[in-house]
Amino acid sequence: MTVDTNIGDARKGYDRVEVPAPGGGTRSLTPKQFEILPLRERVSFLIEGTAQFFRDGRPISPSEAMRT
């Protein structure tokens, strides 16, 4: 898997994130859907590293995604 870690990229943030679904597998969320998840859940995904962020269909690192 290729992760875009280009810090110099002028475009910030992400347009989609995949997180573990309650029944197994993953669910795809928009930034708005991710932001309305309970903080506890978001923090847990980020600590575990189970949230996979995407921009323009390409995976990006969480730190790149969180930079807005």
Binding site: L39, R40, R42, S44, L46, I47, G49, S63, M66
Partner: protein
């Protein structure tokens, strides 16, 4: 205890700690804002008191008694009623800053100051701008119920004085019966947007606190990954 279970417990503990710190940061930010607004109003109240005495000494006797320049009753009203209006909010801002009671007392005091200044200037319509300025200043608290308290006070004052002593609030003895409604409408218009603004500010503060938590979580994740790598490297060296 299995490694997976231990890792899960560590994650849960770290999550709880990060969420708790986010809540603490949010509350601390709110408290600092409340205290800062309390201090501002304490200074403003004292400033208004001095201003009211000045108004009573200069403008008010003319406003009510033609050109006879005497120590008018309004001077005593400005000194004594002004002290009464000022004392409680200033005392609360000094001794109990940041508490809900303090900011609601400030809202009551500030709107009573509008009422007193309107009276001292003979119901001068321009002094009614003080009401709108005060509501805007009360929005510094970013706590919308404070605006409701202020609105209730100013509406009650206008209603009662409009019935009992219309000259004191409108400058004329026989205003239209609906004058109170016109003033109330503009106050409601003003606070509708201020309430929206307060709610949005609160939400922004919450988002800031949560953004901090997310960054902490990322940092925790990176620390764990680096620890795992260090352990793997140590194991590799040990194998050699």
């Amino acid at each position: 205890m299995s490694v997976a279970r231990k890792a899960l417990e560590m994650t849960q503990a770290a999550t709880e700690a990060i969420v708790q710190r986010a809540e603490t940061r949010y509350e601390a930010h709110r408290q600092e804002m409340f205290r800062s607004a309390d201090r501002m109003f304490a200074g403003l109240m004292i400033g208004q008191w001095i201003f009211a005495i000045f108004i009573a000494l200069t403008f008010s006797p003319y406003g009510w008694q033609g050109k006879v320049k005497t120590v008018h009753m309004h001077v005593w009203i400005a000194v004594l009623l002004g002290a009464a209006i000022t004392s409680l909010p200033v005392a609360l801002a000094w001794f109990r800053p940041g508490e809900p009671l303090t900011r609601h007392a400030v809202a009551v005091g500030q709107m009573l100051w509008s009422a007193l200044l309107i009276h001292l200037t003979g119901g001068r319509i321009e002094t009614h701008f003080h009401v709108f300025g005060s509501l805007a200043l009360l929005a510094f608290y970013r706590d919308w119920p404070v605006l409701i308290t202020g609105t209730v006070v100013v509406a009650t004052d206008h209603l009662l004085r409009g019935i009992l002593w219309p000259e004191s609030v409108y400058g004329i003895p026989n205003p239209e019966w609906w004058r109170f409604l016109e003033h109330a409408f503009w106050v409601v218009f003003c606070i509708s947007f201020l309430i929206l603004s307060c709610r949005r500010s609160q939400k922004d503060m919450r988002v800031m606190a949560e953004r901090g938590a997310e960054l902490e979580a990322l940092s925790e994740n990176q620390w764990r990954n680096s620890s795992v790598l260090e352990r793997a490297a140590a194991d590799t060296r040990g194998d050699r």
